[in-house]
Structures are given as structure tokens and as C-alpha cells.
Amino acid sequence: MLDLSDYGTSDFLQILKRRHPELLATVNASDGAANAPVTEASFRHYEATTVLAVVYNAGVVMAGDRQATEGYQVGERRIQKVYPVDRHSAIAVAGAAGPCIEMAKLFQVEIEFYEKTEGVSLSLEGQANFLSHLVRSNLGLALQGLIVLPLFAGYDLKRQRGRIFKYDAIGGRYEENDYYAIGSGGKDARTTLKKRYTPEIDRQRALEIVAEAIWDAADEDIATGGPDLIRKIFPTLYTVTEEGVAEVPETAVEELYRELISRL
């Protein structure tokens, strides 16, 4: 039967909390879980590792490696860490893989639900603020070591430029003007970006330095996966511009890495 009582809200999360709390288990840790003893075995899980974003002259590039790790083991070689959100934004996630993917999915549904019910897209800054709320609601799990950290980027139609937002585990939201990288290899990726980044770079240059940053992160950090030329698995790269979100074709990513390797 149709329940018309929630007519007034465009907030999908609020509807889930009120009517379907069972669907929120992974992003809304119960108080009981926060007090439970932590044992290593109870928290064997996959970790998703390096993701980054770089602003360029027409928008922003967002990328992630494809490896998930379980302790010192490779857990998954083809995991996706970057997800389009709406026509002008994308989210990338690092941390405990399960809750990460769940958060990205919920966030995407939330933004699309808003757009469809209201008839207009939520502003980029509005999306960034809402994400901060989602991260905070994961605090219980974060305290248990199951941290989910997103990186959010998009093209701001009103301000006509690409923008990047990073978060801390308690939901703090901070804007980065040029580039940022998070996850276990985030610091290594940032080092590369710091040396290579210049303002107003074009798309090609942005893709090159992003590819190089993931390469360096994979080189230094055991939990980050580089390009796998044998299995043909390559990092995912997305561009977000005024025209929309577009995935860089795998062949183009392969080309970027063949080029990079030839210069090493």
C-alpha cells in the first residue's frame, strides 16, 4: 500500500531511517556495536585504498586504483572506488570496502532522489554538506576501525569550475583547490601531485599526472594496485566537466601507462 505520509521530504536517508531502518545497518552503527569488544577476527574485511582528484582547466579528474586488500593479502583486483553521483559530480571512497560501497550507493540514491522529487539538482556544495552528514553517521563503525572516508569532486555549474571536498572521520568537510588524495597510498600520490601539479593544466596533462600519482602510490604502498598489464586491469579515471561525468576509456588509460612506463 502506498504510504503518502512522507510527501514533504526530499531526503531519502530520512525516509530510510523512519521507515526502513534495517537497510541502514552499515552506515548507521548502533550504540551497542560501539561498546562491543573488538577482536581481529570479528573485523576481517576488505580495505579499499588509494583515490584522488585533480582540478584542471575544464573541470576535475577523479581516479582510484582497483585493489582491495585483506590484511597482507590481495582481496579483490577489480574493485570500483569511483562512482558517478549525478551529471556533475562523482564520489571516491577509501576505507572498509563494504561500508564504503554502501555509502557511495546511498549517497548516489539520495542525490538522485532529491533531483527527481524537487525537479532541480542539489547544488554541489549542498551535496558536499550532505556527504559530511553521512560520514558522521558512520562514526560508530569508525571508532571500531571500520573507517569510511570519501573524496568528493564535481563541476560547480554556478561557479564554472571543478571543486574537490575531503572529509575526516567525524564528518569534517574541507575544500581543496588543486588536488587531493586519500587512502593508504594517498600520501604517496599527493607527493607526486605536489611536484607535478600546475594551475590551469589541460585534460591530457591532468590524466598523465593522475596516472603517475597512482603508479607512485602503488610503488610505495603495498595495499595500492598499479596497472596490471597482464590481466588488463587499469585504474579507473573519470572526468567531470560542464558536459557531465565521463569515464576515461580503458584503452586510453592503458595508453597513459604504456607511455609512462616507456619514460621510466
Binding site: 500500500m1 502506498l2 512522507d6 531519502f12 537497510l23 540514491v109 538522485e112 532522489f113 527527481k116
Partner: protein, 240 residues
């Protein structure tokens, strides 16, 4: 104590139907028809932000004739139920048939309630399918469900019309509709049909790109198949 009076169920039903059909008779029409790359939806609607056709889910759209306010509540409820179902299971599990049943139950219950006014709307729930879907494959062809105010629904093929002059428009389409039309040809067919019926009307409503609302569910789109056509795009298609 006053004498209890008796009204037969047939009479109650007839009264409600008369009441609703007086409202619907004045409602401007919405046409949905199959074209080469999907489903095209066209409505007589001069307004720019109050729509009669809208996106519900990845492959599903909803069109309505009648009271906009009553439609609006059902539209939002449909989006919400679809998103919850897709979030719980998988996006492909949200279907027009399921949504039609949901609307049908609700509209039927409201129409039967002794203390409520029946909804003065008719709906078309449309789902973009795949061409020549094999039987029992889980895949479906295009689907169009027409739901009346009392929740009774019927499955339509190739095209469907709701609104006051739906019967007249259907008669014209029966003669002139052909399979596999290009989008421009399909749109021209609908606008010409609208012009034909408006020529007989008294309120001289002129059919042009500013006075019609056009949207489509198109096969070539990515996940979200619904697209609203801009006035410029409609102008181009009509000049084609």
C-alpha cells in the same frame, strides 16, 4: 431519529464516476507512443515547471491527466517506493507492473472509501523495455499501463492516450500510427493530432513548441532513460 437511507452500491459507484469524468473531461491530453528508439510522451501543457510527465526511475516514467496536485503526491510516492525497492534489492527489480499495482491499490482504496473524494486523475505508467524480448527471459518489451481513477488498469500496446478527448485522439492514432517512426515523425504525428482536435475546440489553444510538453524514454541513454526535451529541441524536431 432520522430514518437510515439506502443507496445501492451501483449508484454510489456511478455517482463517483460521473463526478470524476466531469473533471477529466476538461483535462488536457497526454499521448504516449512507441517510436524507433523508445517511448515518446507528449502533453498539451503551456507551463514551464509544472509537468504532467515525469521521471520515476531508470526506465519508468509517469504521465497524468487531471488535477496536478493529486498527481504530484502520487509521483513523489512512486519515486520514493521505487528508490527504496531498488536500494533494498537491485535497480532492475523495479518494474512498471509493480508500480502500477501500487498506484492501482491506492486509487482503488480512495475511490471506494465512503468519506473520501475519488482522485480526479488518470495515469499512464510507462516502462522502456527491449525490442523483441524473448519469452520467459525476464526481459520485457515496452509497457504502457493506463490506470483509471478507481484503480482499474489496462495494458496498452504501441500507444495510449489519457484526458478529456482521449477517445477521439485514439481513433485518429488508430488510422495514422505506424511502427518504427523516427522521433521527429512521431512528434509530428502527435502535434498534428492535437491540432486536429483543437480545430474543433472552442478555446483556441494553439499547438506550438511553447504549448506542449515533450519527454522520452530512449534506448540510447545510459542508466537513466528519461529525458525532457527543451523547447529548442522540440522546434527543431517539428521543422525536420
Amino acid at each position: 431519529m432520522s430514518t437510515p437511507y439506502y443507496v445501492s452500491p451501483e449508484q454510489i459507484r456511478q455517482d463517483k464516476e460521473d463526478f470524476v469524468s466531469r473533471g477529466i473531461a476538461q483535462a488536457k491530453e497526454v499521448v504516449v507512443l512507441e517510436y524507433r528508439d523508445g517511448l515518446l510522451m507528449v502533453a498539451e501543457n503551456p507551463r514551464k515547471t509544472t509537468f504532467k510527465i515525469s521521471e520515476i526511475y531508470d526506465r519508468i516514467a509517469l504521465a497524468a491527466a487531471g488535477r496536478i496536485a493529486e498527481y504530484e503526491i502520487l509521483r513523489v510516492a512512486g519515486i520514493r517506493e521505487s528508490e527504496v525497492k531498488g536500494f533494498r534489492y537491485y535497480r532492475e527489480d523495479v518494474t512498471a507492473k509493480w508500480l502500477t499495482n501500487l498506484y492501482s491499490q491506492h486509487m482503488g482504496a480512495v475511490a471506494q472509501a465512503w468519506d473520501a473524494k475519488p482522485l480526479e486523475i488518470e495515469l499512464l505508467v510507462c516502462e522502456l523495455g527491449v525490442a523483441d524480448a524473448p519469452v520467459n527471459s525476464g526481459l520485457q518489451n515496452n509497457q504502457i499501463y493506463h490506470i483509471a481513477f478507481d484503480g482499474i488498469y489496462s495494458e496498452e500496446e504501441k500507444y495510449a492516450v489519457i484526458g478529456g478527448r482521449a477517445t477521439t485522439i485514439t481513433e485518429i492514432l488508430e488510422q495514422r500510427y505506424t511502427d518504427g517512426l523516427e522521433m521527429s515523425a512521431a512528434l509530428q504525428l502527435v502535434t498534428e493530432t492535437f491540432r486536429t482536435i483543437e480545430a474543433d475546440a472552442t478555446d483556441d489553444y494553439e499547438i506550438n513548441p511553447q504549448t506542449i510538453e515533450v519527454a522520452c524514454l530512449e534506448q540510447t541513454a545510459e542508466r537513466r532513460k528519461f529525458r525532457r526535451l527543451s523547447t529548442d529541441e522540440v522546434t527543431t524536431l517539428l521543422d525536420f
